[in-house]
Point group: C2
Chain length 459, copies 2
């Protein structure tokens, strides 16, 4: 008789796992059922800001694979609008509520794939039922915001709360739609995914774009008029707002896991081993934004919700469920984004992470250009490197630059992945031609500067 795989959460991680398992085991051997509380399968949440800005015109462009594709091409049963409410490990079944028609479904499993993703942080003041306040995690969130923006009279003043990737990308999207935008950041600076000295370059670009940026300021409440938001309340007084976007980060969605007794790690995510098994719970796997993973540089468990990790982890779980062998090697925290045309890339540890992990290090910032200085379109490019003292091992890198800059972080990410020292990096054979780099590549210039700093530090 066929085994049954039940997948909780039919987005990137869950469906990557399901597809890979199906590639290796056919229907007679493995029945696959996926429960999804939302309206969609596998979509690009990272693409939502560009849909809001109008750059990506249609919602469906963000959907990688529709449920029909999974049903027809992969023989995977997808139950949309079904929210799993409990996992019973003893009976080996899940309980799901049908959000459309009501009622409860029970489904037994031999293998369980836990892929519930992350949930946005919602402060108390944002929990009420005030119109015009939006999280921005799902396609439904995006659709609701677009409807709000298209109302008559159209909202003119937006406040974005939180200056991480989503906050900054949404702020830009709303500027592009013609709204006046204020970004409120609790810390000293938005874009804390890079060190303050690098974030400063980004903040300058955001201001040039016309964004108001208020830092060191917490939002404590909302003002409303007729059930619609009219301002956010802060310690320094209200900031008028016709629309409010919450970009306060996410945390692993582990309510079900906790209730079922699955082990959680120090970062708050579900614990998994290198094959994406939940340790100590036979037949249960987990992947994506709900798990914690190993940071290869700090050696510590971290929660980094990124679509690319979710896809990779789901694939690893699916290969293993399918009877193959695959492991997830951990992360080094590579990420890229852009604000107007200013591109930002990062990998490895920031200075504060390196301190927290107990490293001694030097850090250097090297200013250069993305192309030969004389080549048209040459623009400034700044590379920051953090290197362990005295070994010279690269611990982290950040790039900020105008055009063709962000993806160069991959060069540094591969160097970091391979535990290269900055000394060794000065010898790297990187591509040179005037349209693409100065004769000394910005990465090499930075590596040389780091070597000098290490020498100067008396390593």
């Amino acid at each position: 008789m066929a085994q049954r795989l039940v997948v909780i959460g039919a987005d990137a991680a869950g469906m990557a796992a399901a597809s890979q398992a199906r590639r290796r085991r056919d229907r007679d051997d493995l029945e696959i059922v996926a429960f999804e509380r939302g309206h969609f399968t596998s979509y690009s949440a990272c693409g939502i800001p560009y849909w809001i800005s109008g750059l990506v015109p249609e919602r469906d462009q963000l959907i990688a694979r529709a449920p029909e594709t999974f049903r027809e091409s992969f023989d995977i049963e997808v139950r949309l609008r079904h929210e799993v409410t409990a996992i019973d490990l003893d009976r080996r079944e899940v309980v799901a509520r049908d959000l459309e028609r009501g009622g409860e479904v029970r489904a037994g499993f031999d293998i369980l794939m836990y892929a519930t993703g992350a949930e946005p942080t919602r402060p108390d003041w944002a929990r009420g039922d005030v119109g015009g306040v939006f999280g921005m995690q799902t396609l439904d969130d995006g659709a609701a915001l677009l409807e709000w923006l298209d109302a008559d009279p159209a909202p003119r003043r937006a406040v974005v709360v939180g200056g991480g990737y989503i906050g900054v990308e949404m702020a830009e999207a709303l500027i592009q739609r013609g709204l006046s935008v204020t970004l409120v950041e609790r810390d000293e600076q938005p874009m804390s995914t890079v060190d303050p000295d690098m974030a400063e370059l980004v903040v300058d670009a955001m201001r040039t774009l016309g964004m108001q940026i208020r830092t060191g300021l917490s939002v404590t409440g909302l003002e409303q008029r007729d059930g619609r938001v009219s301002a956010v309340v802060t310690e320094e007084g209200p900031i008028p707002a016709d629309v409010v976007i919450l970009g306060l980060g996410v945390r692993p969605n582990v309510a079900l896991a906790r209730a079922a007794g699955l082990p959680l790690g120090p970062s708050g995510g579900v614990r998994v081993d290198r094959r994406m098994r939940v340790p100590g719970v036979p037949g249960v796997w987990a992947a994506g934004d709900c798990v914690e993973t190993l940071h290869r540089v700090s050696g510590m468990p971290v929660h980094v919700p990124l679509g690319t990790y979710a896809n990779k982890q789901g694939r690893v779980a699916g290969i293993n469920i399918g009877g193959g062998y695959a492991t997830f090697a951990g992360v080094i925290g590579t990420a890229v984004t852009k604000v107007c045309d200013l591109e930002v890339g990062r990998t490895g540890l920031r200075e504060r992470d390196a301190v927290a992990a107990g490293f001694e290090f030097v850090s250097v910032i090297a200013k250069s250009t993305n192309r030969a200085g004389y080549y048209p379109g040459a623009r400034p490019m700044t590379v920051k490197l953090i290197a362990e003292k005295p070994s010279g091992r690269l611990l982290g890198a950040q790039i900020v630059g105008w055009s063709e800059a962000a993806k160069r972080i991959d060069t540094l990410a591969v160097a970091l992945w391979n535990k290269m020292t900055v000394d060794d990096m000065t010898a790297l054979d990187l591509g040179y031609a005037p349209p693409f780099a100065p004769v000394w590549d910005p990465v090499l210039i930075a590596a040389r500067k780091a070597v000098d700093a290490l020498a100067g530090s008396g390593r």
Copy 2:
């Protein structure tokens, strides 16, 4: 008493060595004299096509450092238009001819830096004194061509002989100036720096640009009228030409070295050790386009004339001459270029190189896009990987793509440098965001495909 360093050739390698030596040893300790037969020091030969096309308006933009800078800031004596005609190792002196005023100069040395660069291959038919035929290696070559192009009546028909980097870049430059251009390539395909299946994509782009491409065809002579070229002669008849550009490659300029008895390697370049010393000849160093170097993948000595290597090798030599310690780690043949907006990157071995080096391998081509498919400006990007069988070790990689493609070869170059297997590469943590990559980066897609190919090959 101070020692004297004599540098032969005041371009990238020679002057990088001189500057680094000066950083470590002051004038009282080391006198530095550089002889240069041309009119310029340290300039970007790679930038010449863009000066010809008009993209870079001024010749002087291509000059990295003028002789005055070396004299004033580095206390290095630069003698332009002085051609060294002999090296006397017994007397430890060089003999130089003053090309401007005539006469001979002798200069003793304690340390000799041989940095004569490369010389263009000139077939017999191109050796005469026919107007309108140009090599394209020096700023003087470029100035002469520009003068010819600006004549009245202006040349309309150009023939470029040879389809390597310089040939292809010059062909594009002349198209941009409004000439009709025919590129004549002796082999089956131009752009043989990548494998034929990848070169095909480039050739398509060249044709779209309006270039005539004649392959498998050798030029055997020139036709002229009143001392000006009127056609190139081929086995398939004459091709009319008002201007002819030679792009037939270069070879190491070793006449002086050979005469002085310096050791030459199988590639034809001067032999050097890892510190850029000429082995067995105390006090003599060499670097740049005149030397041969270790290919880290094939393990064989190669001659790869590239400005980036010249700079790095010169720097290594200079650090050592200055009393420091540095080594040149060899090359893996990373290179980038563009044809119109089509970008090309390569690193490591091509298939033919892998065969020649005795590797067994699989190769795969993966088609993807530079950005998320739904993001505006997403364009095709093709990645080819060559992986050793059965180990999976990456041996070579090539990328062809429209915009933001070429420099991604660096990601693969660093993987190759670190001897990664394609299996390990599937786990790499590369930057993802919709404006920069699909959720599965093109590099990762290619690595996965290579893993599948290895499995299919029964490794």
